[in-house]
């Protein structure tokens, strides 16, 4: 009994350590990225939105959900609250998306020494978060402005801008500040950082399915929830009069936005899970 209590306490303090480490580092990284001047043309930022490699590297090294969760929370605490960019309930969506993207990245890596896996993990982790975020952004502006359709040219301009923004983000933040530094940092930190926290370095683990079914289902539910909450907060619909008023105002199409995003997530995760499984099957056949 006493033994199990100490065991949980040891685990708790390790979790606490990981959480604080990931939170301070990703918060700092975000703050630095905010401070670095960027060339901004309205919503399109030709700059660094974050040094995304910091949370990516940590989540790949530790493969822990708390590390993934710490990154968006660090961003909120350090950068958003202090600089006054806290988006209210909209941050909820960011927490879910970024946590999922990072956790996905950590799970995708089975062998820390494999460069290919690192590249894929970094791209998927960032790409997922950014793509879902862009879609939600388009939806937000689309619905946030009354009679948007009445203003010719505005819907197209918003979609065009957000699309370009996504591409720019993906190249600058995702590749230059995501993939490349990840490739530099992971081999250098592996086996050095973990002992400092009293944690065993990750071992090569081929047998594991990258995405257990529970995670997939959880992800889909989380995305539906997150997107819906984000939309509610952005539109300010009256929850009590949900059905009657809401659909009249925004049309039936709205409901497809969260469902569509969720479906996309489901498809991606299933494809990834399937790949993992076929590889597993092959490995077991050969073995």
């Amino acid at each position: 009994m006493a033994n199990s209590l100490t065991q949980t306490q040891v685990n708790q303090s390790k979790t606490l350590m990981l959480f604080i480490l990931a939170m301070s580092l990703s918060g700092l990284e975000n703050l630095v990225a905010e401070i670095i001047p960027e060339f901004q043309i309205g919503p399109i930022e030709l700059g660094i939105s974050s040094f995304i490699f910091i949370p990516l590297v940590l989540v790949i090294l530790f493969d822990n959900i708390w590390v993934a969760l710490a990154a968006p929370i660090g961003e909120i605490v350090f950068a958003d609250l202090i600089l006054g960019e806290f988006g209210g309930l909209g941050e909820f969506e960011e927490v879910i998306l970024l946590t999922m993207g990072l956790y996905l990245a950590g799970r995708l890596v089975k062998d820390v020494a494999s460069r290919k896996q690192l590249i894929i993990a970094a791209l998927v982790g960032f790409g997922f978060t950014e793509l879902a975020g862009t879609m939600i952004d388009i939806g937000k502006v689309w619905i946030g402005i009354e009679q948007l359709e009445a203003v010719p040219g505005l819907p197209e301009s918003i979609v065009a801008l957000e699309g370009i923004d996504f591409l720019v983000e993906f190249v600058i933040t995702g590749i230059i500040f995501g993939v490349l530094p990840t490739l530099y940092f992971v081999p250098r930190l592996y086996g050095k950082l973990e002992p400092m926290l009293g944690i065993k370095p990750r071992e090569i683990d081929d047998s594991r399915n990258p995405l257990p079914i529970a995670v997939t289902i959880g992800a889909v539910i989380a995305v539906i929830l997150g997107t819906t909450v984000a939309f509610i907060s952005e539109m300010g619909i009256n929850i009590i009069e949900w059905e009657a008023d809401f659909l009249d105002k925004f049309g039936d199409n709205f409901i497809w936005v969260p469902i569509g995003i969720a479906a996309l997530v489901a498809v991606i995760t299933f494809i990834l899970a399937k790949n993992g499984k076929t590889k597993e099957a092959k490995a077991s056949q050969e073995g």
């Binding site: 606490l16 959480f19 580092l25 043309i41 350090f78 040219g153 301009s157 801008l161 539109m235």
Partner: protein, 270 residues
Amino acid sequence: MENIMKRLNKISVENIKLEIMRTTFGNRDTFLSQLDPRVLMFWYLIFAIFPWFIYDKIVLVALLAFVTFIAAISKVSKVIIFLLCFGIASEIICYGIVAYFLGGGLEAFLALIGLTMKLATISLASIAIFGNIDPERLSDALLSWGVPGQITFAVSFGYRMVPVLIEEYNNIINSFRLRGKSPEHKGFLYWRQLLHMLKIAIYAFYPLIFNTAKRTRTTVEALEVRGFSYALQNKEVKKLKLAYLKIRLKDIAFLAGSVSYVIFLMIIVK
């Protein structure tokens, strides 16, 4: 133009560090900082959600004015306000220009002003509130709402750590620059110089990660020595820790006053 350049020159890393230091450690004597943190967060929630319900421009202007007043009496940092205004202005102008080329004209511009006012109201409310809550009080408020103790501790710890970490990062970058050799040819549009700086900015995280890991471990060990994890699970300890949080008449008056102002606005418009 000269005036703008002067202002821009004021924004340096050193200055921002000072501003952040002031935001996280200063502002203890303002009106808002004396209120109960739970009331403040609740107030913020009202002003973060409510603007989205409103499409009437007059109400939005009145709300924005009210929040601006609150921000003004709570001594919000000027640099942060400047950054906020700059961002909002450039965003409006850009959407306007693109919409104009795609055939929207002035109407598109007007349609966006409502949205921008909503965003500005929410941002100002957030700056006023979170610049004035003491980090410990913020984390205690979260704890009293049932957020896990690990997270609330991390929040207040993080708040305190920011200036230290920025200082350290800045020092590492400076020593990199002292020891390193910057490129001889600047290149077209200084791209070599920029690349050099960005590389340093990335490499500087390497020692920082180890330093932070070491510091984190020391902190957590110190916490555990004093029974932090154990205390988290103990209801008595939590009660004792949160005993000082009391909602007083001042808090109720502030909240009631704000809410009645909003209701008053709604009635007048209707």
